[in-house]
Subunit: 170 residues, 2 copies
């Protein structure tokens, strides 16, 4: 796991001063490491899951691979205005201002058991909003997968009640 | 192939009036169809390719799966300001205004043989700019893969000289 961790590059002051950005690109550029991560994610998906939802846009990289690996359909959660069909929307608070996420209305149905995936858990706002979207459509989020969790930001507390798996902790 | 094509939903007037938007989400939600697409892409990758570059953000879905399938590293081309490391940039013309794409500087080296992937070939501006980025870094684009090509927009002519494979034509 330390070897995997060494493939996460830390870049200071990105996207703004004072932020230590954890850059996943060296890991995903490494075929062995990428494959290993997807295999671990696959092992952490509970039985009976029938939908995979991935969060734009780095979540799409892992979501695409995991959908293939576990033979699941891929469902995107996207920023406002990107999905062309009828959508369910949610607006949530950011540090400054708000953001809106959308999911296609017809893709999650009552009783669906969903795994949600993104690259990084920071404050948990985006993931929680995505859970709410899935639930608004009648689905149940049975697992949330992250490559990285930033422990200090306590996103896990915001996601209390959900089954969260984060592969690497910083 | 007609079965695959029936999984592309056509949405009129998105993102603006007069555009027939080809929506890939019904296809990627279908595990069989998604797997089949990735298998065809994999068969169309020439021998000796050592890098996979995917274009943000729908290209990430296919790129992630194909990287796993063919045991390749995943390299993102992203919109301006998203990549945290040192980047090579290119600005190109859109119908109205310009857009800028970036790739991390250290990820493509002289002599690399690259496959580029995106979901859709329209006018070809984004794909051509991505090829130029890869070439600026010393790489050679040996194949470009698209799920969909919009024949009327003649993107293929703009990509003349490149080996383009598009699975579905509209």
């Amino acid at each position: 796991m330390n070897e995997l961790k060494s493939l996460i590059r830390t870049i200071p002051d990105f996207p703004r001063k004072g932020i230590l950005f954890r850059d996943i690109t060296p890991l995903i550029e490494n075929p062995e490491a990428f494959k290993y991560v997807i295999e671990i994610f696959a092992k952490n998906i509970p039985l009976g899951i029938n939908k995979l939802v991935a969060i734009e846009s780095r979540g799409f990289i892992f979501g695409g691979a995991l959908a293939l690996k576990n033979h699941m359909g891929f469902i995107p959660v996207r920023k406002s205005g990107k999905l062309p069909g009828e959508t369910t929307k949610i607006t949530y608070d950011l540090e400054y201002g708000t953001d809106t996420l959308e999911i296609h209305k017809d893709v999650i149905r009552k009783g669906d058991r969903v795994v949600l995936i993104d690259d990084l858990l920071a404050t948990g706002g985006t993931a929680l909003a995505s859970c709410r979207l899935i639930e608004k459509c009648g689905g149940r989020v049975k697992k949330i997968l992250f490559l990285i969790e930033l422990d200090e930001l306590k996103g896990c507390e915001k996601l209390k009640g959900y089954d969260v798996f984060s592969l690497l902790h910083f």
